[in-house]
Amino acid sequence: MSVKIKLDFTLNSRPVNIEVPAEMTVLNLLRDGLDLKGTKYACGEGECGACTIEVDGRTINSCLMMAVDLQGREVMTIEGMQEGHALHPMQQAFVDHGAVQCGFCMPGMIIQANYLVKQNPELTREEMKRGLEGNICRCTGYTKVLDAVAAVVGLNERRN
């Protein structure tokens, strides 16, 4: 077993102190070390976006990032989006537009969609498509996903 490293970081606004093996990925730390199963493991190699989380305000694939690199950083996972018992407006929009089917891709999809809107509150539908290229969904066909994001940015539900 590799050397263990002490880490301090902020996870969904709460401080975390933990020891991790040096070679562990962030995804394994979240799911197995911290029992936060919202962030999904699918491809494990950066191709699908199911493991997307926000670190210091930027989204990354947690299956590629090394846990040791979390030192001092701020992390948000899907578990941190909800405000109390109320869904986050992005989550609510996905529900309202029927944008979720099996749901496996959704934690990553919603984190990424929320990030895109924070980056650019006037996002166009084309920009949404570009920004969600790294999130693969096997069920929905994406149209309703785009409708949900469009609703959050106040676009009419154009189909283009």
């Binding site: 070679e23 190699e45 997307t52 694939n61 590629l64 090394m66 690199d69 895109l116 290229e133 790294g134």
Partner: protein
């Protein structure tokens, strides 16, 4: 996966270089190449794992004294959105725009892209077109010693370069291109996002009155390393672009490359694409 005995994340370049001089170290930046290589069993960790993301001074893009300097920790996302580079090195932004996905671009560093030395490394192509050099630093006689290597002399094979084990890539540097410079990048794969290039190509130079000068052409995924297209450059240098010149350049481009058959495409198809893309980009230059 072998054992990591020591993990370090230095803030200062001195400390990082001293650690490298002290022997076997695995360097990690965004980890987007390293993690899949480790989990896929293509690579094992060395005794020390060094995270370079916290080293000060490696994450800036600056323009000074006629040179543009991009620190090795600058991410592909930062290049994609950098207004100064859009103006003075637009071909870099084009390549960044066709790179992987937003999540990967947010993590992927240019130092990692170059040091991974993949023949299909997308940021390598625009840097070759811009005539860039890499700055390599190491610890020698109790101080930092740097050297500059032109990028077209850096790669020695797939995954290999002239960088020594004790050297860190600290920056990529190129001359601010003149006002009349142009540059175009094109990459191909079965889908637009998250695609390893089947082939990629970049063409740039100074363009006035329909004539190209100081032409640089670079090709990716068509040989053991990304490479300059010397025959194509010669077919274009000082020429006024017309259909004859463009056809001659497209023919030269096919001779410049030596692709292989692999799971992504055949040698024949790659050679064909290189000709087609050369023609297409030169037509873009004419319409510019």
């Amino acid at each position: 996966m072998s054992e990591i005995e020591r993990y370090i994340a230095p803030n200062q370049l001195d400390d990082a270089l001293e650690a490298l001089a002290g022997g076997p170290v695995t360097i990690v930046a965004g980890a987007t190449d390293l993690t899949p290589q480790i989990t896929g069993g293509k690579r094992v960790y060395k005794a020390t794992l060094m995270n370079i993301q916290h080293i000060e001074g490696l994450n800036a893009v600056t323009k000074k004294d006629g040179k543009i300097r991009i620190g090795s920790l600058v991410t592909v996302s930062e290049i994609r959105g950098n207004p100064m580079l859009k103006k003075h090195g637009g071909i870099l932004c084009q390549a960044a725009n066709h790179f992987a996905s937003e999540q990967i671009r947010n993590a992927a560093t240019i130092g990692g892209n170059i040091c991974n030395a993949s023949p299909a490394g997308d940021m390598i192509i625009p840097f070759l077109v811009l005539g860039a050099a890499v700055e390599l630093a190491r610890w020698q006689d109790d101080r930092i010693e740097t050297r500059s290597v032109p990028l077209d002399e850096f790669f020695t094979g797939p995954g290999r370069s002239v960088a020594r084990d004790d050297e860190l890539l600290t920056a990529v540097i190129f001359d601010v291109p003149p006002e009349n410079s142009i540059g175009f990048f094109r990459k191909s794969g079965p889908r637009p996002a998250l695609e390893i290039s089947t082939v990629s190509i970049g063409i740039g130079g100074d363009f006035s009155d329909g004539t190209l000068k100081n032409v640089r052409v670079a090709f990716g995924a068509v040989g053991p390393t990304a490479l300059r297209g010397k025959l194509t450059e010669a077919a274009l240098e000082g020429k006024t672009l017309n259909q004859d010149v463009i056809q001659a350049a497209a023919l030269a481009a096919r001779q410049d490359v030596s692709p292989i058959d692999d799971i992504r495409a055949t040698k024949w198809y790659r050679t064909h694409l290189i000709g087609v893309f050369t023609e297409e980009l030169l037509n873009n230059v004419c319409q510019n």
